[in-house]
Subunit: 442 residues, 2 copies
């Protein structure tokens, strides 16, 4: 019996585990779910046949190696920074590994060794990155097959709250790792516009968002996401003129978030002194120019806005100007902000989240005519557990694992899902779960 080891039973693992256990008996594999707490793992496996729930501290090297050694395929749902030691062990022990995270330079460095050991390290096979690559590649390959040339590719994705569950001025609730939301965008974004390289540093990123209109859902802010340039080669569109991957937020979110960035409240590199009973207001006061206890007035002066301005209202709504005690002793500004927003942006049990993705392609056909394809995916969650995020991150990952078990994936080395053999059957299967793009061409 093949053995699958899943490390990390966090927010996004529900659909992944359910899917894998649904097929485990018939297809004769066993799934071990390993988490810091065995209870958390057991809640997810529900003790279903062919499942095991175990406690595993990934920092306990001996135990980790033991578990990896006993598996055929390892799924890492750990935070991105923790994948590398697992990947290294997998290569050394000859085990396949799958993650939904970006390929880090360290992981990329394992390619040759993985090939030698006949191992697949498949990454970026969640939602974004993941479904974005697969759905974009399908269209790019179709355009190429007809002799066309892609001249522009813009792609946006956001994990948001569904309109019916939105009851705050930011139009945002956490449907995945809050820390990633707080720290998003902290390295200079790189993209290509009309043949010109564009570099956008963090302190200007949220001030440079563009407005995207998605039919039936209204306006969204889109800000550039990391390094879009590297995907030109991976997508096989080296000569493209415009290439931009971006992140979606509710319209006006970026304008208000920029205030946090400019204040320095998203900084994760320094530790600030929080005296006993230090309040959020006192904390913010250390970042606001000027003096005096009227924080609202100082915030208005800092931003050049009136106190009735909607951005000021959004900031005030978070409670960051309030007299509420923080209750931490030493923390980075980002950690203080995260703690506050985790309370305010909590996805309540019956709240529905929403995943929105849109690709926009311009291409020149073989005959020279100009075309535009817009491809849009919207998935709405059921509740705070069965989220659209967990579904769209977990299912592609799970489907890849299952295909790897039954021997239909022959890829080896460090890979992302850009080959038709890999993405076509998965996109087809995802459609059965309501994960379908709507495509328009003109």
């Amino acid at each position: 019996m093949k053995k699958v080891l899943l490390i990390g039973a966090g927010k996004s693992s529900g659909y992944l585990i359910d899917y894998l256990l649904q097929h485990a008996v018939a297809e004769q594999y066993e799934l071990t779910v390993a988490d810091l707490s065995a209870e958390a793992a057991l809640i997810k496996t529900k003790g279903l046949p062919n499942s095991r729930a175990i406690a595993l501290d990934i920092n306990n090297q001996k135990q980790s190696i033991q578990q990896i050694e006993a598996a055929d395929i390892v799924i890492s749902m750990l935070p991105a920074s923790m994948h590398f030691p697992v990947a290294k062990a997998c290569v050394e022990l000859g085990k396949h590994m799958i993650t939904a995270s970006y390929v880090s330079p360290e992981i990329a460095g394992l390619h040759e060794e993985a090939l030698k050991r006949d191992v697949l390290l498949l990454n970026e096979i969640g939602l974004d990155p993941g479904i974005d690559h697969m759905s974009a590649m399908k269209i790019i390959h179709e355009i190429k097959a007809k002799g066309g040339t892609v001249t522009s590719f813009k792609s946006f994705c956001g994990g948001l709250v569904a309109p019916e569950s939105n009851n705050n001025p930011w139009g945002y609730k956490f449907s995945w790792n809050p820390r990633n939301v707080i720290l998003a965008g902290q390295s200079t974004a790189k993209f290509l516009l009309n043949g010109s390289y564009q570099y956008l540093p963090y302190h200007r990123l949220f001030a440079s968002s563009e407005v995207i209109n998605i039919e039936g859902y209204g306006k969204f802010d889109a800000y550039a996401n990391r390094d879009s340039l590297g995907y030109r080669k991976l997508y096989g569109i080296e000569n493209i003129e415009t290439m931009l991957r971006g992140t979606l937020r509710q319209h006006h979110f970026c304008e208000a978030w920029q205030v946090f960035v400019l204040l320095g409240l998203t900084d994760d590199s320094i530790s600030v002194e929080l005296e006993e009973h230090c309040t959020y207001g006192k904390f913010v006061s250390s970042f606001l120019p000027g003096i005096g206890s009227n924080l609202l007035q100082r915030l208005c002066a800092f931003t050049g806005r009136e106190s009735e301005d909607s951005v000021i209202k959004m900031i005030e709504w978070t409670g960051i100007l309030s007299d509420e005690p923080i209750g931490l002793q030493q923390a980075t500004p980002a950690r203080v902000l995260q703690q506050l927003l985790e309370k305010k942006w909590l996805l309540e049990p019956h709240d529905k989240d929403m995943v929105v993705m849109q690709h926009m392609f311009n291409y020149r056909s073989a005959s020279g005519s100009q075309h535009r394809i817009t491809s849009t995916l919207v998935v709405t969650g059921e509740d705070s557990i069965k989220t659209a995020m967990a579904k769209t991150v977990g299912l592609p990952l799970a489907m890849a694992v299952r295909r790897l078990i039954n021997g239909s994936i022959h890829l080896r080395g460090v890979q992302i899902p850009v080959m038709p053999d890999l993405y076509l059957p998965i996109l087809e299967e995802l459609a059965g779960y309501g994960i379908v793009f709507e495509e328009t061409e003109n």
Copy 2:
């Protein structure tokens, strides 16, 4: 015979080596100068008695250990990030080590082990940090001895160009490591103003400089330097209300440097694509909002300034908008900017540099009266080799080494020069070299 090993014979090592060799024969010690190139080391030792010049690649662990093992005292003039392995080896081999750099958290972590091995790791004994600590501590200890209480301490220091050698609109030339100048200020500054913690993120640092007037030398810009808060404890002034350490530049420098910061040109975390023959102008175009080949116009729009504005003139003067080819293939923006400025801000052979330091103390006397002490140091260099920077960094370090050799320093563990036993004789000896503070009190 005692043996001193100096690793790194760079810009700031001339006075240090001259001083140590001047006393070497009489005081019976030997100085080995180790540099990547033995020739560079020999130029500095001039083959003087009791000197050796050797080639040493610090990445060659075996050779480094061998050299450290053969020494009694090790001086590291390496870049700050490279001290730690040397410090670790010194502690393990029971050798004292001296540097002019800030104590990093890793070095601080060696304190207990160093005590156990009877080893001194003396850091921050150059100019800034170094002379600033020693001269400030002297005044603080004098105030305390009279029963006074220091309520405010502001201290500024800059390595600048002397007025007679200034022929550029920035009033700046490189008298020390250019890379450190380009990257200066990149972590959020921390200080204390009237009892309130202040945190200033990098993107606002140079826009928040204050103007300092130094009698006889005119106006300077001062921006907050790193973490001033930690020195409250080290200086024994835990209850002070204002505590700010800052860096000086010629007046108006900060305003113009802020444009580079906002553009993203000081970013050292990303690599940018530089096509063949890529010019500085094209490079900047990727960071400027808007499109079109009129970079000056786009820069004016970005900064909200007229083309005749002095800040725009300063930017233009650097050549960053020019058609000159960069000649690098892949580099960080900071590296591109550094390469350009190294040409423009070169200290020519007969140029004189200038070091300016000023402390401002407010204190309350035992009787309750308020006082203010201003203490100012200005040192002018002789030429581009015998710089004020090399002199003020090298001499305190050299004097500490000599005192360590002759057994008059009994300190052990990780230390900075804040004890009278250490700083008083060194300040006195520095005065003999013209390194004297002028003090006024009112």
